[in-house]
Symmetry: C3
Subunit: 141 residues, 3 copies
């Protein structure tokens, strides 16, 4: 009898980690913006929307993932966005650039804003973020 | 022995709510459309797609969230969409407008269709809906 | 006493399937691309991005869901994409076309590439994929 109970308790304890996963943690908002356009109006929109989110959720985790034509947002030359990008970086926002797209557009890290971070495959990053529970927002009109 | 069993049963009962969360409820489809363009062809497309969903899933919960240029869909003046918007509202579809975007475009509720509802920050609404398990569809081409 | 234990064990066994759902399986990446444009540059981009994903995750499940103007990607006449579409089909990629959109554009299966598969309502497919845990990526700029 004791053994049965012991077995039961052991089995039961195995369930604890799984159950923990089903209990919601204190809510942390996480958002990845997908930016794939060279439309500079969209760039201003993204900056504004990221700020709007941080205004309501100051601790939100936000990543702006640029691939395809979107990586133009982070070109250093003639950039009008370095200041707001720097300000958002200081608030913890990540600006990630697809290195596949950089190769396709013959750009190197020297061509990009110093605030940029890099991922090998932009679309894979978007997938991993969603798999990890981040919300997805496609930037642009 | 009785005490041990009682403890076990108590522990067990604690797991019930957590387990309930892991068991799929009768499937309820929930979709948020993200509308950010002033392209009137897209507006017609969204109306059609919402209807297409309701044709296959009459009880689906659908919200069309307009931010940025997309809020033009719900301008009252010269609206060609009030009739289909009204018809969908009667089927429970929510048309939500970003108030941040309204301020940026100097629009007030008086400028908007009476069927519109309002959210303070459109992108935050999109995040909350996804966190709550809604599917996300970006409208537009 | 024995009865109580037996009841307990039965109750316990009921929890097993639910718990199984909470334990992460070996990670399988699943992505649905939403294609709604007739921009042929986007078509090339989608082909490239699907290949990029398969390069890093050879066993990823990928579906390209075309609705609205996006179904043009799979028109047979004068297609420049049959070769890459065929190559990706051989790697397990699904190219799905919305039949509602086909009707709207007066296209039949005879007009489409033989690699295409069909779904009755494209947006419903996008919803079901997300409900099933697939990541969503909106193609286009």
């Amino acid at each position: 009898m004791k053994n049965t109970l012991f077995t039961l308790l052991c089995l039961f304890s195995l369930t604890a980690p799984a159950l923990a996963q089903t209990q919601p943690a204190a809510k942390e908002h996480r958002v990845v913006f997908h930016l794939a356009t060279d439309d500079t109006l969209v760039y201003q929109m993204v900056i504004r929307q990221v700020n709007n989110i941080l205004n309501v959720w100051p601790t939100a985790k936000i990543e702006v993932l640029a691939n395809s034509l979107g990586i133009s947002m982070f070109r250093r030359e003639g950039s009008k966005l370095e200041k707001p990008v720097q300000a958002l970086t200081e608030k913890g926002v990540i600006f990630a650039v697809c290195q596949n797209s950089m190769r396709a557009m013959k750009l190197t890290k020297d061509d990009m804003l110093k605030q940029a971070t890099y991922v090998p495959v932009g679309v894979a990053e978007l997938v991993m973020k969603q798999e990890d529970g981040w919300s997805y927002i496609k930037a642009g009109f």
